[in-house]
């Protein structure tokens, strides 16, 4: 059923023909225009960046801003750090969140409404203020300059979303499937791993992407908890990019850092979101 090439209706035929491409173009424009602007900025010379009238296409193409990132600083190293932290916190968030979500979706816990409410409520706490309290905890546990000081909070901050999203997807699965797996002899964990999670790949990929991105880009914790040069993450490193003076905002190098810092995300998102596919459960049950 996934191959359904639906026959367009005659009346709406012509409308549909241009509507979809048009809307795709609009979406691309909306999402890409400012990013493209950053990309262009990153290869413009400084005078071009602040020229009046605005210079759109660079009059002079330069990679200086990129050189600044990699030559003056170990930007690759920062990217590795970010990757490590983001990947581990994503795994942790999914690894803890998905089972918890399943428990809340299907296992009829007592007081689950209260737990759900609690999970929801913590997300309402202004995140900017979380870190002062966390700083205490980090110091108490002597976790400063330890990746764990980032991984755990990132995972925790993304847990509520993971749990609630996964839960909503688990609830939409046909229950007969799980019953069938139980009769087959799957344990609850096996059931989760082999049957339920593969069928909720879209949700898993989605929350994975969201968690990964938020961990990759998090700034305040990364700034406060990690002071070791070799352990810094991309956003912190980007914040250290200096201009000629402390007053200057170095738009060029920042644009370059934005581009470079986002490229791995693009690759990962491409990878992850291939999993957001339609009709995963089609053909499973009747009724």
């Amino acid at each position: 059923m996934t191959t359904t090439a639906t026959a367009p209706t005659q009346t709406t035929h012509s409308t549909r023909r241009w509507l979809l491409p048009l809307s795709v173009i609009l979406v691309v424009l909306f999402c890409l225009a400012p990013v493209l602007w950053q990309l262009l900025t990153s290869v413009k010379t400084n005078p071009d960046i602040s020229a009046i009238p605005t210079v759109y296409l660079p009059r002079e193409f330069t990679l200086d801003h990129y050189r600044e990132l990699f030559v003056r600083r170990p930007f690759l190293n920062y990217m590795f750090n970010s990757l490590l932290v983001a990947l581990l916190s994503t795994i942790l968030a999914l690894g803890l969140g998905a089972p918890a979500a399943y428990a809340l979706a299907r296992l009829r816990l007592q007081g689950q409404r209260i737990i759900l409410a609690g999970i929801l409520i913590v997300t309402l706490f202004p995140p900017i203020l979380l870190f002062l309290g966390l700083l205490n905890v980090v110091q108490a546990l002597n976790l400063g300059n330890n990746y764990l000081a980032l991984i755990l909070p990132y995972a925790a901050i993304n847990l509520p979303l993971t749990i609630l999203v996964m839960r909503s997807f688990f609830q939409q699965l046909p229950k007969d499937l799980e019953d069938s797996a139980k009769v087959d002899g799957y344990s609850t964990v096996g059931l989760l791993l082999h049957i339920v999670l593969p069928l909720t790949l879209p949700a898993l990929a989605t929350t994975g992407i969201l968690t990964f991105i938020s961990a990759w880009n998090e700034f305040i914790f990364a700034l406060t908890f990690i002071t070791e040069e070799s352990m810094k993450t991309v956003p912190v490193a980007a914040s250290q990019i200096g201009g000629a003076s402390i007053f200057e905002i170095p738009y060029g190098p920042i644009a370059a850092a934005t581009v470079v810092g986002t490229l791995p995300l693009v690759a990962l998102v491409l990878l992850f979101q291939r999993q957001i596919i339609k009709g995963l459960t089609s053909g499973a049950v009747k009724g």
Binding site: P174, S180, G185, P198, V285, K286, G287
Partner: protein
């Protein structure tokens, strides 16, 4: 191989019942109680079919046996052990779901193998068994497809294959052949029969196809409104229905029921008086006579009990189902009977007679069968 109607094939050798349900009850809500106080037992080698109207609780019973649903009251016993509190994975049963419940992300082969892999069956044996069951159900060319690429009947066959491939201690099959064509169903039925005769695990089977129920089972349980109406061999269910419900439910086309006035120990039918079984209390005013369409006979000469005019002829292939309105009897009821095709056009006048040995009597109030 023997005819199964006379005695259950293996029950004689089994000393005690293998699967037993005691006082099983399931309440979904105060108004929805699909299973009420059900007692049943299925011996080793026995094949029990659950029959009953749609929504009467058959699937619920299977689900309780499998451990997917907790009985509100009552116990499930396996080999004499109470397994009511065991999880479905620990009961070692295999089940075909009415809704198929195939794993959509696995190929047909993986679907079939999943239960075996979990039980650490060696790789080559899994291969073998898949080939075997795949052959038997005609799934060979489909093994690498996903469920979404299968037709309804093919999906159902995969579901059956997945259950059969294991060697469980109980088989539970919920309408496993409902989406197969007649020919395939006949073949699969025959294979199933063979297969189940060669193993000892009890089978609980739900079907709406009475031919299936008749040919496969050693025992049939008729359920209605949560109660067990009759538990007996298929033959006796057919020939000695315990009550009017069973009589009407089993057999297609349905048994004809005629409400007759009584006088003493006889019932008045058209111009004749028919002696009633001794079990009928003398004070009875009205009684229900049941007669299956295939037992109604066209009278030779003047031995007719009733007569009427044909008003509908339905072709069933092998037979015609002929409906006759009988003015002789109070309320002008309809009688249906089976005749060989092409002999009896609409409008024809028919004289009918009922062989005494094929007549069933039921209490007009309780519906219970009345016999000698």
């Amino acid at each position: 191989m023997t005819s199964i109607e006379s005695k259950p094939t293996h029950s004689a050798t089994a000393t005690r019942s293998t699967l037993e349900l005691r006082g099983l009850n399931k309440t979904f809500s105060p108004t929805v109680i699909p299973v009420k106080n059900l007692d049943l037992s299925v011996d080793r080698g026995e094949f029990l079919t659950l029959l009953g109207p749609s929504g009467c609780g058959k699937s619920t019973v299977l689900r309780m046996i499998a451990g997917l649903e907790q009985p509100t009251r009552g116990q499930v016993l396996l080999e004499g052990k109470d397994v009511t509190r065991l999880g479905p994975g620990d009961r070692n049963m295999s089940m075909v779901f009415q809704s198929y419940a195939l794993y959509p992300h696995m190929t047909v082969a993986e679907n079939i193998a999943s239960g075996l892999k979990l039980r650490k069956v060696p790789r080559h044996e899994i291969e073998e068994r898949i080939q075997e069951v795949g052959n038997f159900l005609g799934l060979q060319p489909l093994l690498n497809r996903r469920p979404s690429q299968l037709s309804g009947g093919q999906r159902q066959r995969v579901a059956v294959a997945r259950a059969l491939v294991r060697r469980p201690s109980v088989f539970l099959l919920d309408e496993p052949l409902s989406n197969l064509d007649a020919l395939l169903r006949e073949n699969v039925r025959a294979e199933l029969k063979q297969l189940f005769e060669h193993q000892q695990a009890p089978v609980v089977y739900v079907t709406h196809d009475q031919t299936e129920a008749m040919t496969l089972s050693t025992k049939v349980a008729i359920l209605s409104e949560g109660h067990l109406q009759q538990l007996d061999t298929p033959h006796r269910i057919y020939t000695h229905p315990a009550n009017r419900f069973v009589a009407g439910f089993v057999g297609s086309p349905q048994m004809n029921f005629l409400m007759l006035p009584c006088e003493g120990q006889t019932a008045i039918l058209g111009h004749s008086r028919i002696p009633l079984p001794r079990a009928v209390p003398p004070s009875t005013r009205r009684i229900v006579l049941g007669i299956r369409p295939e037992h109604v006979q066209v009278a030779q000469g003047d031995r007719a009990t009733v007569s009427g005019e044909i008003f509908l002829v339905e072709n069933l292939g092998m037979h015609n189902l002929v409906s006759v309105r009988v003015p002789d009897i109070e309320g002008q009821p309809t009688l249906r009977l089976l005749l060989t095709p092409d002999r009896h056009p609409t409008g024809q006048q028919l004289h009918l007679t009922f062989p005494p040995q094929d007549m069933h009597w039921f209490d007009a109030e309780t519906g219970d069968a009345l016999r000698d």
